[in-house]
């Protein structure tokens, strides 16, 4: 019997959570909910105050919510991104978060009533100081650099890949297609997701990888390795904001509201830097880990509203695709 129970424990999700406590179901991206992301800390912290059971469901958050429609089991979604939220808003999936956004420490003003930022960073190319002595200091430098190889993510499948696409749009506007044509020969490969790109970079496959300005913090904090750095471009960097939202059809509205409070709490915010490797959205800079305070930051934040992003997405993807098909 014991081996059987053990097996059942390995296999049947939720079997152990059959207590009387209410369950708050939170949809999150894989990296967020995994053993090595912020998920476990958040789960423990929230469960300590809510008298409930917090259950993460990881995977593609928005496609899953759109697929499920009214049948969704989600109460809260976390890990969404500004560039794709318009469809969710139009589908009427989410309810107002009810939080005061005045105290947020974002580089842009934020007054959205549905999507609540919890952390942010900038898209950036990360390089290894020991292998690249003179990194490009602007997009123009990058386009002109010879002998430089980079790995990027596919904007059709990766949120960071889309951020780069919008970054190039923000810098080059009408000329973005031309810029991509000059960038394409330097692109070693385009990967499906961020992890594969970053893995190729750490294996030494490419000189630079599309990632975030906060990525070097991981190496500094967790590996005591300061050889990785983000190349800061004088054009400014595209802002990457991650969001949480309350599902309109939730059957746990009070718990969902409580979770929204928790997202902006000091405890939650303090966990973010060294688990999700981003800047917290509401925490005084003085309370950031030293490594984050020391990280160089871009002079300007480039950012499109969700309407602008959605309008740009298709034509930008198409000209990107054409640049690579030559």
């Amino acid at each position: 019997m014991r081996p059987f129970l053990l097996l059942a424990g390995l296999f049947l999700a939720g079997a152990a959570a059959a207590e009387d406590k209410p369950v708050l179901t939170v949809y999150a991206p894989d990296y967020f909910g995994s053993e090595w992301g912020p998920g476990p800390g958040i789960e423990a912290g929230f469960e300590a105050i809510c008298g409930c059971d917090l259950a993460f469901r990881t995977g593609d958050v928005l496609p899953r919510l759109l697929l499920e429609g009214d049948n969704t089991r989600a109460d809260v979604a976390i890990g969404l991104n500004t560039d794709v939220t318009l469809r969710a808003r139009e589908a009427g999936i989410f309810a107002p978060h009810g939080q005061d956004t005045a105290g947020l420490s974002l580089p842009v003003d934020w007054a959205d009533e549905t999507f609540l930022p919890f952390n942010w960073s900038y898209a950036a190319f990360v390089y290894d100081r020991t292998r690249l002595a003179a990194p490009p200091e602007s997009f123009a430098d990058l386009l002109e650099a010879e002998d430089l190889s980079i790995v990027i993510q596919d904007p059709r499948s990766s949120i960071s890949g889309l951020a780069l696409l919008l970054w190039v749009e923000a810098v080059y506007g009408e000329e973005a297609g031309r810029a991509w044509e000059r960038l394409a020969p330097k692109v070693l490969t385009v990967t499906q997701d961020w992890s594969t790109s970053y893995g190729l970079f750490t294996e030494g496959e490419a000189d630079m990888v599309l990632s975030f300005t906060t990525s070097p913090a991981y190496h500094i904090v967790a590996e005591e390795d300061d050889t990785k750095a983000a190349a800061i471009f004088e054009d400014g960097h595209y802002l990457f904001v991650e969001l949480a939202a309350k599902v309109a059809g939730t059957d746990q509205p009070e718990l969902a509201d409580l979770f929204m409070d928790y997202v902006l709490s000091r405890e939650f915010q303090a966990m973010i830097p060294t688990t999700n490797w981003s800047y917290p959205a509401r925490l005084d800079e003085a309370d950031w880990p030293q490594a984050f305070r020391d990280l160089p930051r871009p002079g300007a934040a480039l950012f499109f509203s969700e309407e602008e992003a959605e309008a740009l997405r298709r034509p930008a993807v198409e000209s990107w695709r054409r640049a690579f098909s030559r």
């Binding site: 097996l7 390995l10 296999f11 999700a13 939720g14 079997a15 894989d30 990296y31 909910g33 995994s34 053993e35 090595w36 992301g37 998920g39 993460f56 469901r57 990881t58 995977g59 593609d60 928005l62 496609p63 899953r64 759109l66 697929l67 499920e68 049948n71 089991r73 794709v84 469809r87 190889s149 596919d154 059709r156 499948s157 889309l162 394409a184 692109v187 070693l188 490969t189 385009v190 990967t191 499906q192 997701d193 961020w194 992890s195 594969t196 970053y198 893995g199 190729l200 294996e203 030494g204 496959e205 490419a206 990525s215 991981y218 190496h219 967790a222 990107w320 695709r321 690579f324 098909s325």
Partner: protein
């Protein structure tokens, strides 16, 4: 008979119901644009090139192995089977460690002052597919070579045949029989490739249909387009599968490879040198990446987190359940197909799995389960089912020749004794199919170990499988531990295959 019908019915239901669910949810199919047609074209072209190159490279290698005897030959032939079984993510890491910019080859050439050619792009995809499928081709061709009776070579020697005469009169007719089926099989495998194209493709020009399906779901949220692409893929692979079924598929890849026929025509020194070179080069091409994976994974192996070991246990159980399902279905279909001279229905049921898009399958099953149960709670059973469906074609192909042989040799005897149902299965089918059953079970279990096609949509952080943990470690910047987890995945996959294949061989009589 009825078991075969039930199995075929189950297979078709599991393939078509999810597709229907996706179309229903999408409210119809949406049209193709230039990008979709480009994906279809790329898929067909790269699959065709990969198949031709795999077979072209396999012919001289199999020929060399067939006519040479040397210490370690058995081990080499066994290890050559490994790449086909490798989880894709692991294989790509290994390939890059050898052929990547910072790989062995790149650094070696760098020392000579030569810049290594980039692996990324069309040729990278083809290289990876050759890496996966060359071993399969070598094993099947070796089988063909060993099926040429030794007496023929004796006769050839008595008539003073040289190597080219032997090629013309003995080897060419065998190749003519074996090669078309082989090409079709490898073409099929390459059409559904996903992860290979995505990493090594070098850019959006290398978009396969499966990748386009992924993008349609994930970014455009256009299930109608995904469904249409999936139907296109089904038709494409269905046609190739039917063509493959018309051509004799080489029997039983797996047994009797540990012998050579005595040859008199290939004793010249330069021929020996040529074969040694071929075997050496082929061995290095296939085994170096395995060595690289091992070397990279060892560093962090000792500090693999518990969560990885738990995931490994979970993946093992999923693989076993999946292998059981695949074998059950394959056996029912193979037995049913073996009792008729032509049986397109059973053949199609046995082959269709290769054409199924894991993503559409997963999404469809998710939609179907949603109203009745919590799909996430059923993530692992669903994974086992989907993996079983994906490995069914290989299991079916492995069992069919033996099932036909058993039916041909003992079918009438069993009929005359009234052995039907369970008695026939226990007393005739299972014992006669023991070796291919072990082989097929090993294959199914190994393929299931590495797959994460459907789990992405269902995943629950507490119930991850091992390949998913590899990705999660990578997503958390933990590349060393990811490499160690990949090594664990490699070891378990090969161990599973070896154990089943061994079990099939043990106590084999006659």
């Amino acid at each position: 008979m009825t078991a075969g019908r039930v199995a075929a019915g189950c297979v078709f239901a599991v393939v078509l119901a999810p597709l229907a669910a996706v179309i229903w949810r999408a409210g119809g199919l949406s049209g193709f644009g230039a990008a979709e047609w480009a994906a279809i074209r790329f898929t067909v072209v790269q699959a065709a090139v990969s198949a031709v190159l795999s077979v072209a490279a396999a012919i001289p290698l199999a020929r060399a192995l067939a006519r040479r005897e040397f210490p370690g030959r058995g081990v080499l032939v066994t290890l050559l089977g490994a790449p086909f079984l490798l989880p894709v993510i692991v294989a790509i890491l290994g390939l890059l460690a050898v052929f990547g910019q910072a790989g062995l080859l790149g650094r070696g050439l760098g020392l000579l002052g030569v810049e290594a050619p980039r692996i990324y792009g069309f040729h990278g995809v083809v290289l990876a597919h050759v890496f996966f499928n060359l071993p399969l081709a070598v094993r099947l061709l070796l089988q063909g070579w060993l099926a040429i009776p030794g007496e023929r070579f004796r006769l050839a020697a008595s008539l003073g045949f040289g190597p080219s005469d032997v090629m013309r009169h003995l080897e060419w007719p065998m190749l003519r029989d074996v090669v078309p089926g082989l090409l079709a099989v490898i073409f099929l495998i390459c059409t559904t490739s996903f992860a290979v194209a995505l990493t090594l493709g070098g850019g959006p020009a290398a978009t396969t249909v499966e990748l386009a399906i992924y993008q349609a779901f994930r970014f455009d949220f256009d299930p109608g387009k995904a469904a249409l692409l999936s139907i296109g893929q089904l038709i494409l692979t269905g046609l190739a599968a039917l063509a493959a079924a018309r051509i004799a598929i080489p029997a039983n890849f797996g047994d009797g490879l540990d012998r050579t026929a005595r040859r008199w025509d290939a004793t010249a020194l330069w021929l020996r040198a040529q074969d040694a070179l071929l075997i050496g080069a082929g061995g290095l091409f296939l085994l170096l990446p395995l060595g690289a994976i091992t070397a990279q994974g060892l560093a962090a192996f000792a500090r693999l987190p518990d969560a990885v070991w738990a995931a490994a246990a979970r993946s093992l159980v999923v693989a076993l359940v999946s292998a059981g399902l695949a074998i059950g279905l394959a056996l029912a279909l193979a037995v049913a197909a073996s009792r008729k001279s032509r049986s397109p229905g059973f053949e199609l049921a046995g082959t269709v799995g290769v054409a199924v898009s894991p993503l559409v399958l997963g999404t469809g099953l998710y939609l179907l389960l949603l109203p009745v149960a919590d799909p996430v709670a059923l993530a692992l059973p669903v994974t086992a089912l989907a993996n079983a469906l994906m490995s069914l074609p290989f299991a079916f192909r492995a069992l069919l020749p033996a099932a036909r042989a058993a039916e041909r040799d003992y079918g009438r005897l069993a009929d005359s004794l009234g052995m039907g149902g369970w008695a026939r299965l226990r007393r005739l089918t299972l014992p006669r199919l023991r070796r291919p059953l072990g082989f097929a079970a090993g294959l199914a279990a190994a393929l299931s170990m590495g797959d994460l096609g459907v789990i992405a949509l269902f995943a629950d952080p507490e119930f991850a499988t091992l390949p998913l943990q590899v990705y999660r470690l990578m997503a958390a910047y933990r590349m060393e531990e990811a490499a160690a987890a990949a090594l664990l995945l490699l070891g378990l996959t090969l161990a599973l295959f070896w154990a089943f294949d061994r079990g099939g061989r043990g106590h084999a009589t006659v």
